[in-house]
Symmetry: D3
Subunit: 137 residues, 6 copies
Amino acid sequence: MLYLTRRERFSAAHKLWREDWSEEKNFQTFGKCSNPNWHGHNYELFVTVKGNPDSETGFVTDLSAIGQIMKQEVIIHLDHKNLNLDTPFMKGKMTTTEVLVIEIWKALDNKIKSIGARLHCVKVQETENNAVEYYGN
Amino acid sequence: MLYLTRRERFSAAHKLWREDWSEEKNFQTFGKCSNPNWHGHNYELFVTVKGNPDSETGFVTDLSAIGQIMKQEVIIHLDHKNLNLDTPFMKGKMTTTEVLVIEIWKALDNKIKSIGARLHCVKVQETENNAVEYYGN
Amino acid sequence: MLYLTRRERFSAAHKLWREDWSEEKNFQTFGKCSNPNWHGHNYELFVTVKGNPDSETGFVTDLSAIGQIMKQEVIIHLDHKNLNLDTPFMKGKMTTTEVLVIEIWKALDNKIKSIGARLHCVKVQETENNAVEYYGN
Amino acid sequence: MLYLTRRERFSAAHKLWREDWSEEKNFQTFGKCSNPNWHGHNYELFVTVKGNPDSETGFVTDLSAIGQIMKQEVIIHLDHKNLNLDTPFMKGKMTTTEVLVIEIWKALDNKIKSIGARLHCVKVQETENNAVEYYGN
Amino acid sequence: MLYLTRRERFSAAHKLWREDWSEEKNFQTFGKCSNPNWHGHNYELFVTVKGNPDSETGFVTDLSAIGQIMKQEVIIHLDHKNLNLDTPFMKGKMTTTEVLVIEIWKALDNKIKSIGARLHCVKVQETENNAVEYYGN
Amino acid sequence: MLYLTRRERFSAAHKLWREDWSEEKNFQTFGKCSNPNWHGHNYELFVTVKGNPDSETGFVTDLSAIGQIMKQEVIIHLDHKNLNLDTPFMKGKMTTTEVLVIEIWKALDNKIKSIGARLHCVKVQETENNAVEYYGN
């Protein structure tokens, strides 16, 4: 079993904010991430798939095909977007990195299967100090 | 003459947008950076000062003092903020990285002088592929 | 289950040295790391915790809370310190990166539990070429 | 159990190409990686070994010993070489990163055992966006 | 005056080799870079242009336009190519990084002028340890 | 004129400390860098030389020759050493990065001339946030 990791990047705005909470409670809970006027990040998305190499090509799967799926299924909805307002799969959800990796997993899982590999890990690096990983359960 | 560089970071939202232009013209000119709902970046700010080392301390100036000035004069107005809406020294200005480095220079110049050094360069790295530098004229 | 990783950094001096060995045996075993006058590193500490996201906040736990625990329990004893002489939890121990990750784990484990998460991995990157990870057993 | 990772680097040429296929089929399958005149990369090789720390030295094993084995068994055959033409353990094989990590594992496994550690993972980073990991089965 | 830097990447094969020299002399002069079967690198190309920001847009020039010129004029001839055999502007030349930055400058200079900016610096990073810069004279 | 930059690394201990000052005054001036028991860093040394490319070889000068000079003249005295106690060219001097770049310049200048290039810049990166450059006057 081999594990292939592909990185794609996106630059997005977001805020951590519950509409049903006061500004004070939002600030107490989410700190500077609750700025009502948004803030943003250069996110790095690492998708790891697993599989066995094909005896003819030596490929598990073409990593650029993984990149294409990442772009079509998630990056197009994330890059130069507002995660709270513009991203279909984040609508009505908290835009923490935790929720983001779970939703990205859901958006990619079947598409990865359709090219003969299996999704192993979705990792999002939000800043050089913070990252979250999800393995599907 | 020695050149000291200090890095600080900020995560901010912005958009490239002229209110006196139509959405179409904004999009034609600024592309995906004109998303009305904002996007954002992890910016890296590199400030370079120059001076001669003190014979007693071996310091041109304490680099952590430079860091303090950067935080008090600019980072506090940039980090987890919206550059178009929240940053006093960007009000009414285009929030391109070009304009940003000039305004950061203006915000820092006198303060750097006041601790006995001279501002040499303000550099902002917007993404791993794009950066802008300004040397004061 | 989600895995959150927080990075903090510390700059420290140390040497690999057994007092009950001769200088020759120390040098034979530990090479240049046995320099009696010490050497040092910019260490990077990556702490990974695991847990489930809270349905209200979307947080497993606030990553900046993890950062605070890291600073209070370990970084304060490591940064700009001598690992052999100044660090309480390394007293009388070899200051290899192997021993360091185990002792950092012990210093963090209960505190991480107390904020509702579980410690998953302690990783220390000593140089760009060398790193050690510990998963608690 | 502790996990130690050592990085070494190599710069090599290769192409993805089957002699028993036409140039067209090679290009269809491998894209720009099938350029008949070769292309190349700065590869990063990360080898992770596992073991328990020695009570006297605090070492699982000397990481520079791992580095030596990596150099003698694999880097010498990879650095400034053509993976298709010059590397004994890649002869007659596809030079995908997938096949490469498996062959590097085979070349290292016994040597790592001989210094009292166990091979845990071989990872090759081909570009800043693409990496492959192998855990031995 | 502002300085904008855009990074693009290319993966290429090359060798340092003079046909009018013996293999011995090539090896004596160029060391492992003279491997007859080629080797390769992940090169990073940094192009810096200078100019004044437009008062309406806040742009010196659109950095993605710089990226487009870099791709059309040079990257297309360098990426997944053999610098000695495939790159028109390197034909018959030594493929040292020194010669490469000069030829990239020549290939870009007029195109950069045509979008209203001036070329300031071409930098190529060959490995994490080696880089060459050229300022046009 | 071309500019070639070579990076080498060293891991060293040091402290900022004047023997003719009290511990209090040392701490007031140098903060945590004055820890009597030392601290340390992974320093990165970037040496830039300038010259014209040779018409036969395409080299300004062999970058590995620059690396050799760096190793023999400075790295050997810095790596796994104590800058205050072990480094001949730092004896009796403050071990700030400012003083270090000047002394490294003096140690390299003539040797670089002897291989037909000219020293342009010595840069030392002390941490990911702090760096100092010196251009010889």
